[in-house]
Structures are given as C-alpha cells and as structure tokens.
Symmetry: C2
Subunit: 466 residues, 2 copies
C-alpha cells in the first residue's frame, strides 16, 4: 500500500479555489501554498486568479486546461458536481483526489457517494474523503486543511502520524500538538472513507519511514476483517494507538448520528485491539502520552519499573499509579542495595535518603546525585524501565540534569521523565526532550507513558520481535 503519490505530489490542483477570503476554496489555497514547495494550480469556474500568502496564482477553468501534469486534485466544489470533476481528473491522469466537499453519505446522499466511487474506480483514482479536512504532510507542507493558521496552528515535524474520523477533532489535535511541541509526520482526516479507509492508511504508514507511531481517533472501523489483518501486520513493525469513541451506549448513538458508524459493541473492539496488539487510549491526552513515549523511547523488556525522585510524595503517587495500571515496582537486587549503602557510607549520597524503590534522592539533590542513583538503578538486572521525577521548584536541582539525561540513555533501557509545575519545568522539559527523553507535566501522564512502553514491549516479545 504505497500512497506516496498522495502525500508527496509534485503538482496539485485545487478545484473550487476561490479568491474570496473566508471561503473554503480560499482557505485551502492559503494552506496548500503556505509551506508546500510543489506546484499548485487553482481551478475555478470563473477562471479568476487567486492571491494568497502574498503570491498570485493563475487560475484555470478546468483541470484539463492546466499545461502540466497533476498528481493530486483537492476538490472543494458542491457535492453534486464532484462525480463529473472526478471524470475530468481521470482524463487529466490524476492519481489521487482529496474530496473536501460534504453532502454525501453523511447527509443521506448515498447514491452520490457511490457514483463518486464508481467514477474514481473507472479512472484508477484513489480518493480521500469525501467530507473531510484532507491530508496534511508536515514534512513537505502539503496541507489541504481549510482551517486558517491563526485559528489552528500546525505542529512541528516529528514521528507521530494521526488519522481522524472526526475532522473537527483532528483539527483540535493538530492545534494541541503544535502548542505542546509534539512532532507529527502526517495527518489524515478520514471523512466518509468512500475509498481509502483507516486500514489502508495504517498499512501505508507502517512502511512510511517518517512515521514512528500510528495514532487514530475512530468511531468505527470500515471493514472489521481487513482492519484486524492490517493491524496485526502493522503492530509488529511499529506501535498503533487508537482512541475508540462510541464505547458506551450513549456514545455509540452519538457516533451513529455523527459519522454513521456502527460503533458496534466496544467489547468486540477491545478484544480485537488486544489480539492485534493495538494500544487502546481512553482520551486525547492518553493517546499522546502513549505516542510521545513510543516515538522517543524503546519499548521495555519487562514490567519492572524503577523510580528516582527528589520528592517523596510524587514517588508515592507514582507507585500507586504503576500498580493501578498493572505494572510493578522493580525490586532492586542485593548488589544494587549494597552499591547504594556504600555510596551513602562514602558520603556520595545523603544518609537520610531512601534507596528502596522509589529511590528518593530528596529535595536538595543536585543533578550529580540524580545521575548516580539513575545509574545504579539502570545497571540493575531487575529493572526494565526508569521513571525520573524532578520537582524543579527546588533550587538545588541544577541544569546539569539535561546532560545527565543524555548520558544515562547508554544503558538502552527506556526512560520517562516527569516534571510537574509551571514555566521553569516546561523550559527544562523542552531541553531534556531534545536529548531524546520524553517529559510529562504530571505523574499521571508519566504513568501513561511508561505503561505504553511496557505494554508494547510485551506485545513485541510475544511476537518474537524483542
């Protein structure tokens, strides 16, 4: 399933382009010409030239008039015209059509949608949508999303791909990811999935070298058997995290009126996710807690977690959270205990610290003390993963911690960092993330992160991949 022709076009036509600010056909022109370096040809019935982002684009009355090849057509004309536009695209040799237009199946117009598919099949055109925000490839700036940047920021480039059956929610996610500096590779607004569906994109993203983790918001899968097969193939290659909505009766009813999805019994989905190694998230925050950890760190080889903290209370909360999620606090080996005891004796570590796991390096710990404790924990064979909690409110904790976090990754064990608080911890978080360790704002978020690394590691081990 190679969809590079869709995500990496050299030339794009925007059919239904408009010169009137506020119109969808204008907003799409703004988005697609903002960062994209390929060629963009507006098409509109009046042939009016389009001025966006400080540039003027010559317009064509029909895609057939464009004196160049066109790889992808972005279509934003009234629904009833779309099948004919598809024919013109076919005549032009277009490979993919991104149909933004609404007014198909979701509005009761089932036949119109069938007609759209029939025409596309005839020409061998693959279709995204209809009734969607299209695709956004953060890497090359190919962006069909009609939400303007002043309302919806675009995230930086990174390893997380996101598919959404809800366009509006997808837009909120992009905006949210941008704000929280979460890097994304590709965004797909699935729309009605008349042709390409979540399973097709999953297969494509499996082989996409720019995508490290595949995430999705889904109300229902289009073809259960196909999804099951594709998910199984995908999760042994890279992690898949899905937020399935419509889990309750009320939610399923709402989903039926939203996307027409037969949400189905959530139990069936739960079982399918478990059997295919899909990680199931219950909320947007959890989805990204999982995804960020999985893009930045290796999966864990077991569920024994060590915790190093400069705050006892945070260590208690972390212990609770790990156990409540079914993980374990690592029991440190005799050897490790002896190392700690010796370091305390030699004055390298303070007398009143606790080196039972959670390892409490206490409130006056500088980064050097953290490093020693982390190394002892990571050297221990009984430890599969490490959570580091830093309450930066204590002025004793110096910025050397940033380099420490780079160094301690040499053990090859996954590490998650938790830094609760305000502006200062957030600045430190960004610097630590540059070193490759994901940082979370709350203990609860950090628990999600480590859970994902452990669970995905389990799945890979079960399948002989770790």
């Amino acid at each position: 399933m190679n969809l590079d022709f869709l995500f990496y076009p050299e030339s794009v036509a925007v059919i239904g382009a408009s010169n009137k600010p506020g119109k969808i056909g204008n907003s799409i022109m703004r988005s697609v010409t903002m960062h994209f370096t390929g060629k963009v040809y507006p098409v509109n019935i009046k042939g009016e030239d389009i001025e966006v982002n400080g540039k003027v684009f010559k317009s064509y009355r029909s895609i057939r008039d464009i004196p160049d090849e066109v790889d992808v057509a972005v279509i934003a004309v009234p629904a009833r015209f779309v099948p004919d536009v598809i024919d013109e695209c076919g005549q032009k040799g277009v490979k993919a059509a991104v149909v933004i237009s609404a007014g198909f199946k979701e509005a009761g117009n089932v036949e119109l949608e069938e007609e759209l598919v029939k025409r596309a099949r005839k020409w061998g055109i693959r279709v995204v949508g209809p009734n969607c925000l299209g695709v956004t490839n953060i890497e090359n700036g190919f962006d069909c999303n009609f939400n303007p940047p002043e309302r919806q920021a675009r995230p930086k480039f990174g390893g997380i791909a996101f598919m959404s059956q809800s366009g509006a929610f997808g837009a909120a996610i992009l905006d949210w990811a941008a704000r929280h500096e979460i890097g994304m590779s590709k965004f797909i607004s699935l729309g009605n999935m008349a042709d390409l569906d979540e399973s097709d994109f999953m297969s494509y993203l499996k082989d996409d070298p720019k995508t490290g983790v595949i995430t999705a918001y889904l109300e229902g899968v289009k073809d259960g058997r196909k999804f099951f097969q594709r998910a199984k193939e995908t999760t042994v290659v890279k992690p898949v995290v899905i937020l399935k909505a419509g889990r309750t009766e009320a939610g399923a009813k709402a989903a039926a009126s939203h996307t027409g999805s037969l949400a189905g019994s959530y139990k069936i989905y739960e079982a399918a996710f478990e059997q295919t190694g899909v990680l199931s998230a219950k909320s947007m925050r959890q989805l990204f807690n999982y995804a960020k950890a999985l893009t930045m760190q290796k999966p864990a080889r077991g569920d024994r977690v060590a915790v190093v903290t400069n705050g006892g209370g945070a260590g208690v909360m972390m212990s609770d959270g790990l156990l409540e999620k079914g993980l374990r606090l690592a029991e440190l080996s005799e050897e490790t205990n002896e190392k700690f005891a010796k370091a305390v004796e030699e004055g390298k570590l303070p007398h009143h610290m606790s080196y039972r796991n959670p390892i409490d390096v206490i409130g006056d710990a500088p980064s050097k003390r953290y490093e020693l404790a982390m190394r002892y924990a990571l050297e221990d064979e009984n430890v599969d993963a490490l959570v580091v909690i830093a309450l930066f409110q204590s002025p004793a904790l110096d910025e050397g911690i940033v380099d420490v976090m780079e160094r301690v990754q040499e053990y090859g064990k996954p590490i998650v960092f938790v830094a609760p608080g305000g502006d200062y911890p957030e600045r430190m978080a960004r610097r630590i993330e540059e070193k490759g360790v994901p940082v979370y704002e709350t203990v609860g978020d950090g628990i999600d992160a480590i859970y994902a690394l452990v669970k995905y590691g389990e799945w890979l081990r079960e399948n002989g991949r770790l």
Copy 2:
C-alpha cells in the same frame, strides 16, 4: 477553629534569617517580604542585617529583642535549637510558630518533636510543621515558602485552598496553578503535623470566607475519628477534594518511608470519604479539574447533562465519558425537541444539525447559534447541567461566544466549557473564565469537572442543603 492569627499576622519574625543568598533563611526572607504588607523582623544569632528584594531589614539576636509585638514566628534554625526558640517565642507572646526546620520525627527524632510540642503547649503557641514549607496566604502575601520565585511561581488570588502533606509536591502544585491561572486562597504545607493537622486546617478553611473549595494531598490522616467528624461538618458548607496517596501496597510502603504515614487500607479511606461527602481525586489534574469547577459554578441539582458542541466527535467522546463516570445524558423534553424543530424550520438553525443530545450545532456554527441551542437546553426541566464544547479551530465561531457564556448563566444551572487545542482556544478560555465559566483543555478534563458538580450536588441534596 479560627487561625486568622496565623494567616493574617500584623508582624512576623523570621528566626534563622540569613543574608546569604541560597540559604533557606535568606529565601524565606525573600518570600515573606515580597508581597506581604505586615512588619517583618529577621532574627539571627549574629545580628547581621538582611538585604532582600532591594530593602534592608534590621536584624535581632533574639526574638525577645524586637521592640514590637510579634504575632507569628517563622522558624528555620537547626532542629535541636527549636524547643528553646519556642520558649523565647512564648516569652514574647507569639501566637503561632511555623517550623520550617527538618530533623524531627521524620528523621527518627521523636522525642525532640514531643519536646517541641510540649513547650508550645505550655505557652499556648499553635505550631505548623515541623519539616514543611509553611503557610502561604495568597491574599495578603504572607508567604514562608523557601522556594525562590524564579523556580516556583506563586498563583494568583482565588477560591481554592490547598493543604499538602508533601512539601515538594505542594510547591509543584503552586507553580502549576500559577501557570494555569488557577486562583488560590491559602496554601498549607502540613509537614509532620506535630500540632495543627489536616482536620484543624479543614475546620478553619470551612469558615474562611476567602476559600470556596478545600483541597488536599494526603498520605494519611492524623486522627481518623477527628477527620471524620470535621469532614462531615465541612462538606455541607463547602466542597472538600482530597488526593489520597498510598492507595496500593507499593504506594503505602513508599508513604511509610516518606511521611511515616500509616496509609491504612485505602478501602477504609474510600468508605470514609464517601460517608463524609469528600470528593476523592486520583491525580493532581483531576483534583484541580474538580476544584476549578466547584469554585466557579454551583453544584448540579441532578445528573442529567446536556451537551452542545460544534464537533460531532467531541460529542461522542463526551457521551462516553459521562456514562463511564456514572452520569447521564439528559433526555430532552418533547417541548424542547419542538423548539428545535421550529427553529430549524424557520432557518434559525441549520437543517443538517442534530438536536438529539449531544446537540451538534456543527462546524460552521457562530456564537449566535450556540446561544440558541444552549438556551433551549438550559430551559429544559430535564437538564441539570450543561457542557459546552467549542472547537475554536473553525473560523466560523466568533468571539461573541464570550458574552454568550456570561448571558446563559442566568438560568442558574451549572455550565462547564471545553475548548481543546492550542494558543487561540487558550486565550478564549481565559476570557470566558473571567465571565465565571470554567474552561477545560480536553474532553476528559471537562468530564471531571461536570462529575464534581453533580457529585457534590448529590451530597448537598442528601443532606438537605440543596
């Protein structure tokens, strides 16, 4: 239990004050002279004057030398000197001592702590701590916290009081609250609770007109029977939200080595919380999700929730979340359905919107359409509370929504607002919160908020207070 003498002193002595930046006795001087308008007298054995925040404070060798009355003494001298310092405070007529110094019970020095209490009792001095960050009264700036402002911001003044058995976590909370613009009234770092304990402060805060909601991080209560009695008295007056740590075996073990708390069986705590109407939060984020809603909105008179959204997916997730938390989606009355049908017929609302609950005003909704839908929902007798979800990524949604949110509060039913995304939604959130409606970043957070309003309403009704 009136502790105004502790939180509203006219004159304060800082015993162990230091002129050396980085020393705790210097940091406390910085904090206490930053915003506090009362008199501050440093005391140190060398009698060296203290220069902080651009001002010079004349120092005294003993509190007895201060030529003025002293209401509160903040003590930060080595533990072994504290009992004698307490005697001096007693001779001076001090009413309350905030003992920052560590090295008491938590370090195995049980007798020293008993001696401290004995001396304080003799003089009738009430003690906060030892081994704590002291108290912070955001209202008058009386702030004993030794974390410097560049590492730990102070929140703005507002209705949430917070007590913490963990100083470090308390500091992180203050920093976090500042960042998220959550207003707080008073912060109490409980420390070892040698004298004043969580129940005493709860009783004080119950009658404190500046506190709307009482929150706490606790590993264990000091006196179960006292707590039970005080909690029962308090929750009928204002909400109490507690994050109890040490819920699991591993957490309880960690708590024992942290604060020495016998965390006890969590089941017992759960039962006690339920019987006393205390809302139990599982995470820091949940604690503040609950607290923010409870300070800003009235409790709900029932569990029937209406949802108005411009995004179908968010409506589905909200439906799931409400049901998973044991709440209900309101079933709109026949009358309300007719109102909606009529408005659609008259073109005031769009044909393709869904006015089953969740009410989907769809992606192109301006604030006027939101207002109409909200009013129909709030006028319905079957609706006890309203959740409004706004995906501000859609440029159709105008800023008139801010004033709409002010107006629709006239029905007296609690309202919670959810605005997922990045910078633009956050700016709108702050403006909507100025109108009195709490705004949340994710659907999950909004679910917490409405849950708290419904649960607290139930408790008040059970007790004939609503």
